[in-house]
Structures are given as C-alpha cells and as structure tokens.
C-alpha cells in the first residue's frame, strides 16, 4: 500500500487545484465574476456558491390556486351558456337555472321538451384540451333527472382549468414582477396547483404581496338608478374611506379590453392617477355606453371594491381615460402595473411564507462562519494532540475535504443554507472518523508486534471495509433527507451527503499518500502514534 503510481498523486493534486479554481469566483465580487465570464469561453464553470434565502435575505412564497374559485367561475360561465342555448333552442324552463356546487340544474316540466333540451345541452360538453385531444374525457356530465337536466363539471375538466389557471397566473405574475423591476425573482410551478415565488433581497414583503396577491380584475359599471330592478343591483364597498355604493351587476367594459395603463397626473389637481387605453372593441363599447349615459356616475371597480365613481361629463370615445381615486404616487404606479399585466385567472392564496431580512441573513452567515471556524480549530488541535504528525495529515485532508464540499456545491449549483452550514460543521467532526478508524487500527496492529510498514499496511486495509460500511449508512440517511426534506433542510442533506463522499476520498486516499510519502522520507523505526 505504501507504493502508489505518480499519476495518482498527480491526479489528486490536480483535483485540489481544480477545486481551488472552482471556488475562487465565490470569493470575488459578483461584477468581477460577470466581467470575467464575458471574456472566458462558456464551458468554463464560473459559478458562485448560491446562498439560500435564509442567508442572503429574501422572500419565499408558496401560493395555491384556489380550486373552489376556479370552479365557481366555471359554473357561472356554464349557467350563461345553458341560458343562451335554451334561449336559442326556444325551450321553456320552469323557474331559473339553479347553480350548484359543481354544475347547474334546469327544470323543464314537459318530458318531450326535456329530451330536446338534453340533446341540445349535450353539445356544451367538449373534449378536454380541444377537439383534437382525444382520450382525455369530456368537460361535462349531462344527465336527465326526474324533472329536468343536470350539468356537472367533470373532475378532469376542473383539473384542466386549474392547470391553465396556474400557467396563466405564472405569466401574469412574471409581467407584474418584471414591471416592479425586481431582479432574480424566480416564479415556478409546484405540483398541479401551486406557484412558488422566490424573491431574493426583498426587505419588505408587503409590497411584493400586494403586487401578487391581487387578482386585479377591473370593471366599469354604472352606478344604479332608483329605477333599476333590485336583482340587477348590488352593493359594493368603497376601496378607501369606508362606505359603500350601489352599482349595477352588469359590467359595461372590463380590464380584458385594456391594452395599456400608465401612471400619470391629473391635469387639474396634479394628483397621481392612472391613464389607460382600450383596444378597439373596448373603446367602442366604452364610447357607446358613455354617450348613452351622460350625466350619470359610473363606478370603477377593482376586485369587487369601488375605486371611484365619477360622473360621465361627456361621451368618452377616444378609447382612453383616467382613473382617479386619491391615490398616492406608489398606489397609482402599482395599479398601472397591475392593469398592464392583466388580471389573475383565479385567486391565489399564500399557503407558506418565509421571509428573512438581510440583517438576519448576514447574522446567520456570521454565526455559521464563527461556529465553523471554532469547530474546525477544536477538531484540528485535538487531532494533532492525539496523533501528532498523523494528526497533521488528517487535518490537511480535512482542509481539502472542506474545499471539495464547497467546490462541488459551486459546480452543482447547490444552495448553501444555514442548516447546510450546520451540515458542513457536523461533517468536520465526522470526516476525521475515517482517519481515526485507520490510525487506531494501525496502533492495534503495531501493538500486536508488527513492523511499522506492516502495521501501516494492515491498518489501512482492515479499516477500509468498516469505513465504507459506516459511511454508507450515513449517506443513505442524507439521501432520504434530501428526498423528503424541503427548503433549508435540503441544504443540510446536500452538505451532509457531499461531505460524506468527499471525506471518504480525502481521509482514505489523501492520508494514505501523505503517510506513504512521509514513510519513504523518514523511514521511522517506531510509529509516532
């Protein structure tokens, strides 16, 4: 064992050199790395170690698309479709269309009419994913009941809608967040109905949550007249200053027809407002309604709350208008962003939030560093005190072990979290275990009367099986933790797992080489341990 090929030594040295090069960028300022990356070919891995949000500060928001609200809007659309179909087919219904949790129900007294209605309504059920996608099932179950027809949304149809809603939400959120000018925010889908937002560096999540939490559904409706039938009127709260106002249920124009919105200032009062522009269709509709209702107030409704209800002074036919509402500058500009980005297709609920301010993040980095330095120093001193020159070898291997963990994390793009630092500190204590196993074995063999070289040889050989066995169990625990853990805990699993791999390499291979070199150089008669 005390002979090894020069190429092995060379490759170990090359590995160490490569590891040093790989982690160098992590100690350089980000701009310097970018500048360097621009000049080097792209295959050279120039990566900095990614710090988790718990260390660099930032917000982690996990949001869920509300399936109930998606279903509800689908059911409402279905009710309108059914009404239209029956009207077109001139089928009389007894009473209204009853809205149920997952569908609608129409009563039709006459059996012949009922059969006709069933036929007609069957056509509302479409193949999921469009006419070309076969085998996914259909959107509706249409069934005849004792006194009518019931239409129920299928599970597959709702799942499909939720999937679409998630995809659309991500697009809308991307537009909103890009408009806010925050960099490096990650928005991605998680599972079938969830959206994950990771925003590094945002100090106050209130602004972020305001930006993503609003559906931003804009509607223009007429304020109700005493003459309106009561079932076509509803009372909505004012967004500011309390109070409420009665408005018509019918929406004149909605936010879907907006093509642009910008923060601007009111020409008379100088207050911040939002200038918007409709597309052709929206402009025409808006022009028509405003010219028919000059002198009446109309309400600008955002997510069910009335922003303001100005009186229509003259027909607005240019396709543009202003929204005023005692906005602050910030409010006006975020409203403009929201309107530009479009409405979310469904309500998103925050189901998990983890926010770390940059102050705490820095404190955690400092604490982690201190613990790592002190822990490593204690272990290093203890190893030298116990094993002398062999302890120095183990400590050198330990240094390379730490170097390799960081290098492999940088290469893999793994995220360093606070539990991850804890994992590294733990492996510092654990990494020398392989050395301890070997050294203790060498001592035992020497006590049995073996020569120095034979004791060294037997020590390495016999300890090896034990080292593998004991590390496999630890590695399996780390692997499982990675698979089942989430968030920062995964960081622990990563550093523990990588640490076990690198420690086996360094403690076995490197120490063996160092001891071999030492032996050939000093030719000792007795073991120093």
């Amino acid at each position: 064992m005390l002979r090894f090929a020069t190429w092995k030594l060379a490759s170990v040295l090359a590995l160490v050199a490569a590891a040093v090069l790989v982690i160098l960028p992590s100690f350089m300022p980000a701009q310097a790395v970018d500048a360097l990356a621009a000049r080097l070919p792209s295959f050279i891995p120039l990566r900095q170690i990614v710090l988790g949000l718990d260390l660099q500060g930032g917000a982690y928001l996990l949001m869920e698309v509300d399936t109930a609200s998606v279903t509800k809007s689908q059911v409402e659309a279905l009710r309108d479709d059914v009404r239209q179909k029956l009207r077109d087919g001139k089928i009389a219904i007894s009473g209204g269309i009853a809205v149920e949790q997952r569908g609608v129900m129409v009563r039709i007294a006459d059996p012949a009419e009922r059969a006709k209605a069933l036929d007609l309504l069957q056509s509302l059920s479409q193949p999921i994913g469009g006419p070309l996608a076969a085998g996914n099932g259909r959107t509706l179950d249409v069934a005849q009941t004792d006194d009518g027809v019931r239409l129920t949304l299928t599970d597959a149809a709702i799942a499909d809608k939720v999937r679409h809603a998630v995809g659309q939400s991500i697009e809308v959120l991307n537009r909103r967040i890009n408009a806010m000018g925050t960099k490096e925010t990650v928005i991605q889908q998680q599972g079938p109905n969830r959206v994950l937002i990771e925003a590094p560096g945002s100090q106050d999540t209130t602004a972020l949550k305001n930006m993503i939490g609003q559906t931003a559904k804009l509607e223009f409706r007429l304020v109700s007249d005493p003459g309106d039938p009561p079932n076509e009127v509803e009372t909505l709260p004012m967004q500011k200053g309390g109070g409420s106002i009665q408005v018509q249920r019918r929406v004149m124009v909605d936010g879907e027809d907006l093509v642009d919105a910008q923060q601007s200032f009111d020409q008379q009062t100088g207050e911040p407002d939002v200038t918007f522009r409709f597309n052709l269709r929206g402009g025409q509709k808006f022009g028509q309604v405003t010219s028919e209702n000059v002198g009446r107030p109309f309400a600008i409704v955002l997510d069910g709350k009335v922003i303001s209800a100005p009186v229509i002074r003259s027909p607005i036919t240019g396709g543009t208008g202003q929204i005023t509402g005692n906005f602050t500058l910030d409010e006006a500009s975020s409203l403009a962003i929201l309107l530009r980005a479009g409405a979310l297709p469904a309500k998103l609920t925050v189901i998990e939030e983890r926010t770390v301010g940059p102050g705490l993040g820095q404190d955690s980095i400092d604490a982690g560093k201190r613990a790592a330095y002190v822990g490593a120093t204690l272990v290093v001193i203890y190893m030298i005190a116990t094993y002398g020159v062999f302890g120095v070898f183990a400590d050198l291997a330990l240094a390379v072990h730490i170097l390799l963990i960081f290098a492999s994390m940088a290469l893999l793009g793994a995220t360093l979290t606070l539990p991850g630092i804890a994992g590294i500190v733990f492996t510092i204590g654990m990494a020398v275990d392989s050395n301890v196993l070997i050294y203790e074995r060498i001592r035992e063999e020497a006590h049995l009367g073996r020569s120095v070289i034979s004791a060294l040889d037997a020590g390495f050989r016999r300890a090896f099986a034990t080292i593998i066995d004991s590390n496999v169990t630890m590695f399996v625990a780390a692997l499982i933790l990675y698979l089942f853990g989430s968030g920062a805990v995964r960081g622990f699993a990563v550093s523990l797992g990588l640490g076990i791999l690198t420690s086996v390499i360094t403690a076995v291979t490197m120490t063996r080489m160092m001891i071999a070199l030492w032996y050939h150089r000093s030719r000792p008669k007795t073991l120093p341990i």
């Binding site: 613990a371 203890y382 733990f426 203790e440 169990t473 625990a477 853990g485 989430s486």
Partner: protein, 319 residues
Amino acid sequence: MKLLRLAPENTKFGFMRFRRVSYPLSAALSIVSVVLFLFVGMNFGIDFAGGTQVDMRAKSGEANIADIRGKAESLGVGPVEVQRIGAESDALLRLGVQPGGDAGQQTAIAKLRDAFGADYEFRSVDSVGPTISAELVQRGTLGVVVAIIAVLTYLWFRFEWQFAVGAIIGTMHDLLLTVGFFCVTQLEFNQTSIAAILTIVGYSLNETVVVLDRIREVMRKYKRLSTAEIIDMSVNAVLPRTIMTATTVFLALLALFFLGGHVIRSFSAAMIWGIFVATYSSIFICSPMLIYMGVRAETFDRMREKEAAGADVKAKEKA
C-alpha cells in the same frame, strides 16, 4: 511529543456485565419517552403545527416583551407567545394557526405589521398554513420511516440477520430517547429536528456498524471464546476510536450550539444528545443483543457451510 489519549489503552472492561443494568435502564427510559410523548408531547414548531412566527428587533432600545404580548393579544389573533432571543433588542413572537384556512394567516401577518412595523424591524417572518403543515408532518414521518427501512435493508445485506436485529433495536432505542429528549426539554420540534433525528439514526448505525464489524472479525478468529468474551474484546478494541470520534463530533457540535445562532440551536442540542445516546447504545444495547440471540462463533461456520452448500446446489443445477 507526548500524545493525548482520552481512552486508556488496552482496556479490558467487562462491558457485557452491564447488560443487566443497561437493559432495564434503557427499557425504562424508552417507556418514559413514549409516555412523555403521548401525555406531555413535543413542542411542535410552526412547520408542523402551523402558525406564524416573527423574529423582531426593536428599532431602538430593548424589546419590551410584556408590551409586545399585550399589544399582540389585543389584535384578536388568538393566543400569543413572546420570548426574548439572543440580544436584548430581539424578540420572537409566535401565533397559532388562524381561523379562515390558509388565507387567515396572511391577515394576521398584516395586522402584526401594522401594529409593530413602526417600532420594530421584522427580521424574519415564517408563516405556515394548515395545508402545508399537514404535508410537512406527512413527509417528515415518511422520511424517517423510509430512512430506517433503507438503512436496515443495507445492514441486512451486509450482516447476518442477528446483527441487523441488534442494530434495529439500537436505532429504535436512540430514536425513542431522542423523542423523549424533545419532550423533556420542550425544545422546538421543527424540520431541522427531523434532520437531526435522521442524522442521529445515521450516526447510531455508523457506531453500531463499527462495533459489529469488529465482533464479526473477532468471532471468526477466536472460536473458543464465549460470545460475551468476544464482544467485550471487540468493544474494548474499538473503544479508543469510539471515544475519539464521539469527541471530534461533539467538539464540532459544541461550536455549533454556542456560536451557530438561535435558528439551529435546537438542532445542535438534539445532535449532541444523539451522539451520547448512540455511543451508549452501540456498546450497551446492540452488542449484548447478540448474546440474547444466541450468536456463537459456530453460527458463522454453519452459515458459511449453508451458503457453500447452496452454491453447490446451484452449480449442479446449472450443470
């Protein structure tokens, strides 16, 4: 240079004699742990219990704990827990799960920001809704179970079954006592605690494997000795290593406990406990199991004969 030796050399302790003490003691402690878990319970953090936790720092002067509690309780957000952490200016505020499902948590955070935003910096906000906390409980439990099964499968392949049984009992013992530790100390049990538990399982098996490896080796060499003598001999032989490694890991964890900050203190405390328990159980629980299961040197011979015979049969079948 005089080298430091924590473990005396060439010890001949009669470890196996202690099994008459260690078994009843461990059995009692395990039962106490289960009873504590059932009737006292662990202090589940928001990861598993759901709720909201805010780490806040006074913008000037000290954090006034009583004042924070009073103010927070008046917000109508249910029971409020406030405690000082680390520096004088820092406080940790915790709310239970709010009514109104996942959306309810966000309303509570908004209320807290309104009430304390002016005087306190919110250093971190963690909020876990009921959906996620239920999932985390599920995944945490599943993770621990799968980890144990996976590691034991490995042992089963690598060692004779009696050894694997010893390891299982030792691991369960460490697991129960760690649960007991969380019940007694009422340290917050959160996701990092699951990480601690799995690492303890890993460490415990690591210890066990080292001892069992040696027992197997010695058993093959000294067929005349009784099982207890063989085990004593093996445990004494690996004792310096056991103490050495436990000490290096302990030193690293000690640094983590005192310097690593409050976020991972409960993790480090559990790990330190785990190191002691795992070291104890590998010597006093796992190894004596072999005596109880009647493992002898001949067991190996018989097994090897059987294996050889099996191989012969297969070879014949092929031919």
